[in-house]
């Protein structure tokens, strides 16, 4: 080959390479091939539809829109038309579609054989359940983690039909509040008109995270504080740690857990000194109880707040046009009745009953299931008290315990003692969607569909300022072999000869909707907003319950019940007192943070990434204390500690957080799961182990806010 030919070949080759599309095509293909591996799932094609549903993973009661593609749910949005959501959603509820396929789902009925649970058919499961219930006779109890659905009515009716009175709610804010309301002589349930308040004082109650209808509360705050606009609502947070709600509040008042009642009554003291009176029954008794038990000095000992700070809160309340006090436990349980009662007393002192932005007495749901126990009766039973007595063998364990939407093996205080008590139960039945700690120790596990897979209803979750009723119908058929718990129980009941009046849960819901019509109401929506109707704004056309809920809307009623029986006589129990100290000098402030789950659901897969490495990492989790407390007890950032109480101990590392009060250890609930799946396991310890149940002063009911601990 000559030089010319060689150059021609090179130049020609170069030009040819540049001109031919082959290398570019190959490069492009290579990048596509190397990104299209068969083991990476493909996304579905097709249009999506929105189907209304409901989330009950937390207390918020949000109505949701489920995004479905070809009938398959793939995401969940807050429903802008639903008054408890207004488009917002919690970090738990937003996962609900993914949780359909959670690795923790119970996929078929399971029966205990020795140390393991083995799959059985539904027929065998029902037969076994019927056999055990028949043998137990009246020696049966049930515990429910749901106080808004008719499912609990079916359970309580079943237990009553068997001749037992033992139907319980799992401990929760709304349980304590229900009891406190009754103690003051209240009928029905208390509702809080947050949207119309111009000042909200949250004492303990974590209104944006754990207390009541927290998504709705957050939306009320949102709308009243438009970005760059006029502020129409001020929020003051009193809590032991500058938590998430306190981060956005106008003011934060540090108050020890367990001393919420002392703070509320301390404020009442100043209001009364300023001439406030409720004008209602029991005021004289209340005034003398407050003066003797909650003087500024005593309140300072109990709360750490100076008389000036407490007086300032009283002044803020007195000078607001539409103040609202919301008191409760800073971690959504165990706060007892005194705090709620004291908060209600403040509202009465401020004249906030049946006033816009105040409190209202709302009717309870009508009973439709034959023989179901009224809410009042279930509230009179205390599950923690009962289990403690079972554990101590002061009470015989039930032959059969039915756990519905409840995980007592994980979520009760003094967890280890409670687990021992649960072990004493003759036959433990867990109606659960997930393989939680209770299912893992149960004798029979009956898989429950998620709300998206079943018919479910919800009547007025605690906190709502108006009656509301929402019904979810199945968006998808159950993806596993699950049957709604209430349907199972109705079938078993009829086999045992108990007549509960219904053959299916769907009929129960229809009957409830029918019964609710008597209250009169309307379908909520963008043009029919309950908080506006409450103050005479807008006159939505009335609607039957069925029509509203079938259209996926919330049905709302402005009905109230007579509140003339409310009395302040029992609103100030006990005396303000400083934490006990002694061997356990530190006050434990459990933290309820929704992104790490609730008492019903453990950390969902998609929520793991929301946990900071200062909250949990490499298998351990962090408790928080301020630098002064840490140095006082010889510990510091990242150090490993054992936090011990009278009843148990947990292992953790320390994270220095200056938002925690002196002498307080803040510890997040929701960690330390032993069941569930790899997303929830191997992360820290369960704080419930070190919660210590005491007897609430003046009430003699279990109370575990303000548990005392030490660093061992």
């Amino acid at each position: 080959m000559g030089r010319r030919a060689f150059i021609g070949l090179v130049v020609g080759g170069t030009a040819g390479t540049l001109l031919t599309p082959i290398p570019w095509k190959l490069t492009d293909d290579a990048s596509i091939w190397s990104q299209n591996w068969p083991w990476i799932p493909r996304v579905p094609n097709g249009d999506f539809e929105l189907k209304p549903s409901l989330s009950k993973l937390d207390n918020s009661g949000v109505g949701v829109n489920v995004v479905t593609v070809k009938g398959r749910p793939c995401a969940v949005y807050g429903n802008p038309e639903h008054p408890l959501s207004r488009g917002g959603i919690s970090s738990l509820a937003v996962n609900e579609a993914e949780l359909l396929y959670s690795p923790s789902r119970v996929q078929s009925p399971l029966k205990r054989e020795g140390d393991s649970l083995i799959p059985i058919s539904w027929d065998d499961a029902k037969a076994l359940l019927a056999e055990k219930l028949k043998a137990a006779g009246s020696d049966v109890a049930c515990v429910s983690g749901d106080d808004t659905g008719s499912g609990t009515d079916v359970f309580s009716a079943f237990v009553a039909a068997a001749g037992s009175k033992l139907c319980f709610y799992m401990p929760a804010e709304q349980v304590d509040a229900g009891r406190a309301w009754q103690r003051l002589g209240g009928q029905g349930m208390v509702g809080y008109d947050i949207e119309n308040a111009d000042m909200v004082l949250a004492i303990g109650a974590d209104i944006f995270e754990s207390w009541g209808t927290h998504v709705r509360n957050a939306q009320a705050f949102n709308k009243a504080n438009p970005m760059g606009g006029e502020q129409a609502m001020r929020v003051v947070y009193a809590s032991p740690i500058k938590n998430r709600g306190a981060a956005v509040a106008d003011a934060w008042v540090p108050v020890l857990p367990g001393s919420e009642a002392a703070l509320a009554l301390g404020i009442a003291y100043h209001l009364i000194q300023g001439g406030a009176t409720s004008g209602g029954p029991g005021f004289e008794a209340f005034r003398s109880a407050v003066r003797s038990g909650y003087s500024p000095e005593k309140v300072q000992q109990a709360t750490g707040l100076t008389p000036e700070q407490v007086a300032d809160l009283a002044k803020r309340l007195a000078s607001a046009k539409r103040p609202l006090v919301i008191a409760g436990s800073s971690f959504g349980q165990g706060g007892g009745q005194n705090a709620v009662a004291a908060g209600l007393a403040l509202n009465l002192l401020l004249g906030r009953l049946n006033k816009a932005g105040g409190i209202y007495a709302l009717p309870e749901a009508p009973a439709v299931v034959q023989g179901s126990m009224p809410r009042r009766q279930i509230l009179a039973n205390d599950f923690v008290d009962y289990m403690l007595k079972v554990g101590a063998e002061q009470t015989k364990a039930p032959a059969v315990l039915l756990a519905y939407e409840a995980n007592p093996a994980y979520a009760l205080p003094q967890t280890e003692l409670m687990a021992q008590a649960l072990d004493k139960v003759g036959f433990l039945v867990s109606f659960s969607s997930f393989m939680d700690e209770t299912a893992a120790m149960a004798d029979l596990v009956l898989p429950t569909p998620l709300v998206m897979e079943r018919t479910e209803d919800m009547y007025t979750p605690y906190g709502s300022g108006w009656v509301n009723y929402t019904v979810a119908t199945p968006v998808i058929a159950p993806v596993f072999d699950a049957v709604p718990a209430a349907d199972v129980l109705l079938q078993v009941a009829s086999g045992l000869g108990h007549n509960l009046g219904f053959e299916s849960f769907e009929d129960v819901v229809k009957a409830k909707a029918e019964a609710l019509n008597a209250m009169g109401g309307f379908a909520a929506g963008a043009k029919a907003e309950p908080w506006k109707v409450r103050v005479g704004g807008g006159a939505p056309s009335s609607s039957g319950v069925s029509d509203a809920v079938q259209a996926g809307k919330a049905w709302v009623s402005m009905a109230t019940v007579n509140a003339s029986g409310l009395s302040l006589a029992k609103a100030a129990a006990g005396q303000a007192a400083a934490p006990a100290g002694g061997e356990f000098p530190l006050v434990l402030a459990p933290l309820f943070e929704l992104n790490v789950g609730s008492s019903k659901v453990a950390i969902p897969p998609h929520n793991v990434s929301t946990i900071r490495d200062t909250e949990a990492a490499n298998g351990h989790f962090f408790v928080r204390m301020n630098s002064a407390t840490a140095s006082k007890y010889g510990t510091g950032q990242g150090k490993q500690v054992t936090i011990a109480s009278k009843t148990g101990s947990i292992k953790a590392r320390v994270s220095i957080d200056e938002g925690v009060m002196d002498g307080v250890v803040a510890a997040p609930l929701g960690f330390g799961h032993t069941a569930w799946d790899k997303f929830a396991q191997n992360k820290g310890d369960n704080v419930s182990k070190v919660l210590t149940v005491a007897s609430e002063p003046g009430v003699a009911a279990p109370f575990w806010a303000g548990s005392m601990v030490k660093i061992a």
């Binding site: 990048s31 190397s34 990104q35 591996w37 083991w39 799932p41 996304v43 579905p44 097709g46 999506f48 995004v67 593609v69 398959r72 749910p73 793939c74 995401a75 949005y77 488009g87 917002g88 959603i89 919690s90 970090s91 937003v94 996962n95 579609a97 993914e98 359909l100 396929y101 959670s102 690795p103 944006f208 995270e209 927290h214 998504v215 939306q219 949102n222 709308k223 970005m227 760059g228 500058k242 998430r244 981060a247 956005v248 540090p254 929704l594 897969p605 998609h606 929520n607 793991v608 990434s609 929301t610 490495d613 949990a616 630098s627 200056e658 938002g659 925690v660 002196d662 790899k678 997303f679």
Partner: protein
């Protein structure tokens, strides 16, 4: 030198740090919407994909003067992005009306130059193939394709929602290039229970974000770097505003000041 294009529509976000409780709903909503696979352990945050990430800001004071704020951080969709000019394969561009910085997965060769360039840590590298628990892949949304190992990904203001809003506008006789304020909002903005995030066209004076971005309490993150983010943060607290500029408390800001000369 980078060349900045001007657009008629500039999608932007205003985030009120006085309204964010750090609850995480935006983070989870984003993951679900955009098919980000869950991780069993988030101890090593460099391996976790969080297009939207909520940072915790603290004022470094001792109790009781301590204060805290939460800062949700999506992609800033900078007007003058650092990531775009450094990409050797044009896998990330800023060339579409709306001013959203794109991320084209099939083009990405995983060199991570963009990650090094981005001062906001908004870009994430897939160190592993995404894995969903068995069955959970049935809940993938149609909105965002799955990404393999070796690819960089980031927030794109839920671009699929922008497309859908334009389509809807065309179908209903509206103007796709003049969308109403609530016609297109990303999943994080929609989910936020306290309304801490709002979204709209920074160039449309009728949109709230346009007004708020000029507020005296509004500031962009690390503004002095010259990236001109399309995400604004608002706070009435001076310490929070100072922190947005990485204020170290002694008047210095760490790193290099000045800027705008990258690319």
């Amino acid at each position: 030198m980078s060349v900045q294009r001007e657009f008629h529509t500039k999608w932007g976000m205003v985030i009120d740090l006085d309204k964010c409780t750090g609850c995480g709903a935006c983070m989870v909503a984003c993951q679900v919407e955009n098919n980000i696979a869950p991780t069993p352990d988030a101890s090593d945050m460099t391996r976790v994909l969080t297009w939207m990430l909520v940072y915790k800001l603290e004022n470094k004071q001792k109790f009781p003067n301590y204060d805290v704020a939460y800062l949700p951080r999506p992609c800033m969709q900078c007007e003058n992005p650092s990531c775009v000019p450094v990409c050797p394969v044009v896998a990330t561009t800023k060339d579409e009306e709306g001013g959203i910085v794109s991320q084209i997965y099939p083009r990405c060769i995983g060199c991570r130059y963009c990650m090094a360039a981005c001062p906001y840590h908004v870009r994430y590298f897939n160190w592993f193939d995404p894995q969903w628990p068995a069955g959970m892949e049935k809940t993938l949304t149609p909105f965002s394709s799955t990404r393999p190992r070796g690819v960089v990904e980031k927030c794109h203001f839920c671009h699929h929602r922008f497309m859908a809003a334009k389509e809807k506008a065309r179908a209903t006789g509206g103007e796709p290039m003049k969308l109403a304020e609530d016609a297109y909002i990303p999943a994080c903005v929609e989910a936020c229970p306290t309304g801490a995030l709002i979204f709209g066209n920074l160039k449309d004076p009728t949109h709230q974000v346009a007004k708020l971005s000029h507020s005296k309490n509004a500031k962009r993150l690390l503004e002095r770097l010259g990236g001109k983010p399309q995400v604004y943060y608002m706070s009435k607290r001076q310490w929070v505003l100072d922190m947005l500029d990485n204020d170290l408390g002694d008047g210095s800001h760490g790193g290099v000041t000045g800027g705008g000369n990258h690319g």
